[in-house]
Point group: C2
Chain length 394, copies 2
């Protein structure tokens, strides 16, 4: 049978495939981006859920509108505006089925076959695959310790054909862990206006800062209405509930809402109401502070174990937040082979080429997640990775 | 700004827009397709939810795999196979964010711009818009009391260019209320094989039969692996939870899973587990029997009130199940004007042109939903529609 051209070349994401393998409980997984279950506010959610079933089930279990549950939208709009300066009169906030859906909807409404999407190199594979599913021409822009190289970004905006979107994860980037500097953020907003192009600011890790100085979202500098802000409750409440949102310029937001209508009608209404209640009845910032305490320890432990087990055989970037560390094996060695060796020893890591615009590229980097493993698993897993490295470098 | 060609012509669905208007509590709405809230098993769901929060929150609130929660998939596969004869060795069952997502994913993986999709005339606007969002060439096939005219369907399969999909709602069709006869179902399966084309069998109302004889799904006759079965818990448990599923030939199902991965990663896992538990711990068939008792009474009341208030000024089809009745005003009058008059009197009905491949077509039919209104609202609303008709026909 013949499939659409847009889908015929698309393969399942390597990470999601690895995730399946890691359902084997004997595997120590540094591969996925799963939050630690101890960060889920299950008890508070349970109390709200009981109230919803007892008193508001006729609404919570019924069809809702595509834009989302109004009190949740209002709470998000208020929080993003008052706390972070995100969103103004020209913007619309609506609820999505996870942050991933923001990316898919933006791609659907903006990208014709062959149009160019610029992204960081490396970047998040789930987003790259969303763009691939509309046959975008993906162009990766190099990064350094301050995030994406904005001069190279401008160069690409000038020279690449039909650039319709720029996709960035400016804060605690996945996979590199880098954070875009304040100056570069302002420059991105200026470039979006100058070259009349939409930018997706994908910011799921934004609240997970363990060190360094606060940097405001790019969206704060969006005078021209060009930044599509993608947010998510996956990392601060729960990913299983699939509640994300966007704050986006009305013109593109309204198109995205129409596209959402034909995709899933609306996002699970029960959990929209639950999250709405959570924001009103509990202190999300206090909860985030607790999560950051947990993750900061985990991050520091991974740094410590990396130094102990890898020594100077591998270089890495110290992240100020997020869920990931990015390691590079010097000498141009292929990290894919290293990850395969590790996986045979039941430790899962993701090779760098998974995050490339061209997956056939050889990468000497690999990504480790530090949020999910227990300290014991991390001790054991990092020791195994150290041994694997010794064998690999022989 | 420039949007993708696929989205630039797409407008919000008229029904979803009407739904927004009907958030006014003083409007009597026969417009939406909302189930009656008294059919939601809120108490049973509440018990399962409490157990999930107390004992399985680390799984229920965490990321899951795209295909869905395995015990739920297994329960659906078993139920569909053993009870209805749906699904065989060549098929895959996976969970979707409502039945709507099955349609969107099938369109995404099968339909190139300009390819033809054949559908019943009239048909479900949410599906038509999903096809429009990929710039499909929509061709409507006329129906009669036994459902879609299969000779006309074969004619279209022969003559229309690049037919990639046939979209049918064979049981208690939305909007017409018609059910495809057994003979025609067999014929559709044969045509799918003969013309090597996929058919979406969209069957959300299947379990809601109030009279007449059981007819098996088209998928039961799918020897060639051409039928994509779309099912949903929206009408038998709750639409707000957005849990649907498909039983589809592996080749197309695997492509759809890849497309789902980039769309929303996976469906709300908490409610996947909740529905999985419900299927194991409670008797869904007994619950469906209770729902059918409620809706049969509502359906009969609407028929009675139609006869009383419309007399022979309007013709209608007596449905054997589902949620809708389809009325036609003789003499080629435009039902859009009638619905506008009714809406000014605070009664909402959907004009027939909303369900047309070409929405600018004049239709003399309109659709009324009988599942949501209370008997008192139905009495009052149908009386107002009767008066509106008198004015309209003056």
């Amino acid at each position: 049978m013949e499939f659409s051209t847009r889908i015929s070349s698309l393969k399942p994401s390597a990470i999601r495939e690895i995730l399946k393998v890691t359902q084997d409980p004997t595997v120590i997984s540094f591969a996925a981006g799963n939050p630690a279950p101890e960060t889920f506010p299950a008890e508070e959610m349970s109390i709200i859920a009981a109230d919803l079933f007892a008193n508001r089930s006729a609404t919570a279990l019924q069809y809702g509108i595509t834009e989302g549950y109004a009190p949740l939208r209002d709470a998000i709009t208020k929080r993003m505006h008052e706390k972070y300066g995100v969103g103004g009169d020209g913007d619309i906030t609506f609820v999505t089925t996870g942050g991933q859906q923001v990316i898919e909807l933006a791609a659907k409404v903006l990208v014709n076959e062959g149009d160019t999407v610029l992204c960081e190199a490396p970047s998040f594979v789930g987003a790259l695959n969303a763009f691939r599913s509309y046959k975008a021409n993906l162009v990766g822009i190099p990064m350094d310790a301050e995030g994406v190289d904005v001069d190279r970004l401008e160069q690409a905006l000038k020279t690449e054909k039909n650039v319709k979107l720029v996709y960035l994860i400016p804060t605690f980037q996945n996979p590199s862990g880098c954070t875009l500097s304040l100056e570069r953020r302002k420059r991105v907003a200026e470039l979006a206006e100058k070259y009349n192009v939409y930018v997706i600011e994908d910011n799921p890790y934004f609240d997970l800062r363990y060190s360094g100085e606060y940097v405001p979202p790019i969206k704060c500098f969006d005078k021209a209405g060009r930044i599509i802000y993608a947010g998510s409750f996956s990392k601060v409440l729960s990913p299983g509930i699939r509640i994300g949102y966007t704050v986006a310029p009305a013109e593109v937001a309204n198109k995205m809402i129409v596209a959402k209508q034909v995709s899933d009608v609306h996002t699970n209404l029960f959990f929209q109401m639950l999250v709405g209640d959570y924001l009103m009845k509990y202190d999300l910032d206090q909860h985030i502070a607790q999560i950051c305490d947990i993750y900061k320890k985990k991050c520091n432990l991974m740094i410590e174990l990396a130094e102990k087990n890898f020594g100077d055989r591998v270089s890495f970037i110290r992240p100020d937040g997020g869920l990931f560390m990015w390691f590079t094996i010097p000498g141009g060695r292929n990290s894919f082979d290293f990850c395969k060796m590790a996986s045979a020893k039941k430790v899962a890591a993701v090779p760098g080429n998974s995050f490339s615009v061209d997956e056939s590229e050889i990468s000497s980097s690999f990504r480790l997640n530090f949020s999910l493993a227990t300290p014991e698993q991390m001790q054991k897993g990092m020791a195994i990775l150290g041994e694997t490295l010794t064998e690999f470098l022989k």
